[in-house]
């Protein structure tokens, strides 16, 4: 551990790089939902594995932070474990699996079930930051559309969903309007988590390493999921309860248990599930 901290700067990135990322983050906080380009660095893992989130984490993490990493809600998947170990090594900070104990949480694909609090920072790993990319391949044009708030075409996609499936079928990365101004991709979280973005007391930072973009939602900011008046936004519901903790309010993963089609439903948020289980014991 000592040898590593001697060979690497605190949090791996050099101070100059961290400073530029912090400046970008300040700008992102100042313009909620607006994508800011930044000089994305090479990280010791490949693009697409959370390099954007890691650079944001590296720029904001301090000696006193308590760090948590989740991947699909779980603390114990390979990706989460590796990123947590990485920051243990290059920062020597305390880590945790408990949402309420963490001051800094890096996440891929989920927002914890336990409500976030003031003072906490969420860092989201973002594969594709541009919500308009599916319909407009030109970056010049999408920037213009953002600048002019031309978000009508986004509704075309929702219209098509209803037309084809009878409802808005977009389950992940469901587009949101931030502070009534910028259209934003919330990263591939399930739409179940979208309401948690709204008026959250935590600071929410989004980093896309490959696409070299950072954006943010400051605390207590309105985040509204797009919808139609006659097809209002709705979250997923299950007619099952978690097999482990019996929760009916959390996001459930379907797990196939054998070759005969046996399956069960369990909480995707392992920390939430465990803490409920403990309480019940």
């Amino acid at each position: 551990m000592t040898s590593l901290t001697q060979n690497f700067n605190f949090a791996y990135l050099d101070e100059q790089t961290k400073r530029t990322i912090r400046r970008t983050l300040l700008k992102a906080i100042a313009i909620p939902g607006h994508q800011i380009p930044f000089g994305s660095r090479e990280m010791p893992l490949s693009y697409g594995w959370g390099t954007g989130g890691m650079q944001v984490t590296a720029a904001v993490i301090g000696q006193d932070d308590v760090f948590k990493v989740i991947d699909q809600g779980a603390d114990d998947t390979t990706n989460a474990v590796n990123i947590r170990r990485f920051f243990e090594k290059v920062c020597g900070v305390e880590t945790t699996e408990s949402t309420s104990a963490a001051t800094l949480i890096q996440t891929r694909h989920r927002i914890p079930e336990t409500p976030l609090q003031e003072g906490q920072i969420m860092v989201y790993q973002v594969p594709i930051p541009e919500p308009l990319r599916w319909l407009e391949p030109s970056e010049v044009e999408t920037r213009k559309m953002h600048a002019l708030s031309e978000y009508g075409p986004m509704y075309v996609r929702l219209y098509e969903d209803i037309t084809q499936f009878g409802q808005i079928a977009t389950a992940y990365d469901y587009p949101v309007m931030v502070n009534q101004r910028y259209l934003m991709r919330p990263s591939p979280i399930p739409r179940f988590d979208n309401p948690k973005l709204n008026m959250s007391p935590a600071i929410q930072l989004f980093g896309a390493g490959r696409e070299k973009r950072i954006y943010a939602v400051p605390p207590y900011t309105e985040v509204k999921s797009l919808d139609f008046e006659d097809y209002p936004f709705q979250v997923e519901t299950w007619d099952k309860a978690c097999e482990f903790c019996g929760s009916t309010e959390s996001y459930l993963d379907e797990v196939v248990t054998d070759n005969d089609g046996g399956r069960l439903w369990i909480c995707s948020d392992t920390d939430f599930c465990r803490s409920r289980g403990k309480r019940e014991e």
């Binding site: 031309e150 009508g152 075409p153 509704y155 075309v156 219209y159 098509e160 037309t163 139609f228 097809y231």
Partner: protein, 272 residues
């Protein structure tokens, strides 16, 4: 014989005195090639202005420059908005310009693939402009889209089909519906009947003509087909080498062509 509509006619007459669009000495060059050389024109409400000329005469460049799809070297394009303001389009702030293009203006492309979203359904194609101007009620958007499908003679049963399953003529009619759904006052058309079979062309021409009358549209129509302007255009500009060489009422220009180029153009046309 007609007395009860005198008042309506008076209003029409007064409207006609104020041009909807004025182009003043518009020039546009691509390097050494001058595509539009000091072109001036004015368009009055309810008029169809045809622009005719062979390939390379600058007619499509002129149309694109009017639509602000292209920057211009000099000159002005002035549009009188619904609110009665005279707007210099190329000087207008981008947001306002784009808003105009989505509401009061429409552009019909020669190739429907350029004017439609081929990967979304017909209904969404028509609904897009409604959603762009704030339409947020799925049911109402569909209802409006249905009415427009009727208008352009496409069965409502095709609303949820993709444009690539449509014939060329239907695609072009769908494009019309997509453009007309926000009730634009000015529609620019670039060879709207090009590439269609003659019988399909006739149907489309007839449709455009009746829409122009019922919706009181003003149209600038670029084509190389004299038959098309004969049937659709009230007025005609003849372009050659980037310049307007002759202008007037369509029948004046075609029945009494004065410029050598126009005479050649008219005499080369087979009269059916």
């Amino acid at each position: 014989m007609i007395t009860d509509c005198d008042e309506a006619r008076l209003i029409t007459m007064q409207d006609r005195l104020v041009p909807l669009l004025t182009v003043e000495r518009l020039s546009k060059a691509y390097g050494a090639v001058v595509a539009c050389d000091r072109v001036s024109l004015s368009l009055y409400p309810g008029q169809v202005l045809g622009i005719i000329g062979e390939s390379g005469s600058g007619k499509t460049t002129l149309l694109k420059a009017i639509a602000t799809h292209l920057p211009i070297d000099s000159g002005r394009v002035c549009y009188t908005s619904t609110a009665g303001q005279a707007l210099d389009l190329h000087e207008l702030p981008l947001p306002r310009r784009r808003q105009l293009m989505r509401t009061e203006w429409g552009f019909v492309q020669q190739n429907p693939r350029d004017g439609l979203r081929m990967n979304v359904t017909a209904g969404a194609n028509i609904g897009e402009r409604l959603m762009e101007v704030g339409g947020r009620h799925y049911g109402q958007i569909r209802q409006t889209a249905g009415l427009w499908l009727d208008q352009v003679e496409i069965s409502q049963a095709r609303m949820d089909d993709f444009p690539h399953t449509f014939s060329g003529g239907m695609q072009q009619r769908l494009q019309l519906a997509r453009v007309l759904v926000t009730s634009p006052r000015l529609v620019l058309m670039d060879e709207p009947t090009g590439g269609l079979d003659v019988s399909v062309q006739a149907k489309l021409l007839d449709l455009i003509r009746s829409l122009v009358r019922t919706l009181q549209l003003s149209v600038i129509l670029v084509t190389h087909d004299i038959g098309v302007v004969r049937l659709l255009a009230h007025r005609l500009l003849v372009m050659q080498g980037g310049q307007v060489v002759e202008a007037g009422l369509t029948d004046q220009v075609l029945d009494d062509p004065q410029h050598p180029y126009t005479q050649q153009l008219v005499s080369a046309t087979l009269v059916p």
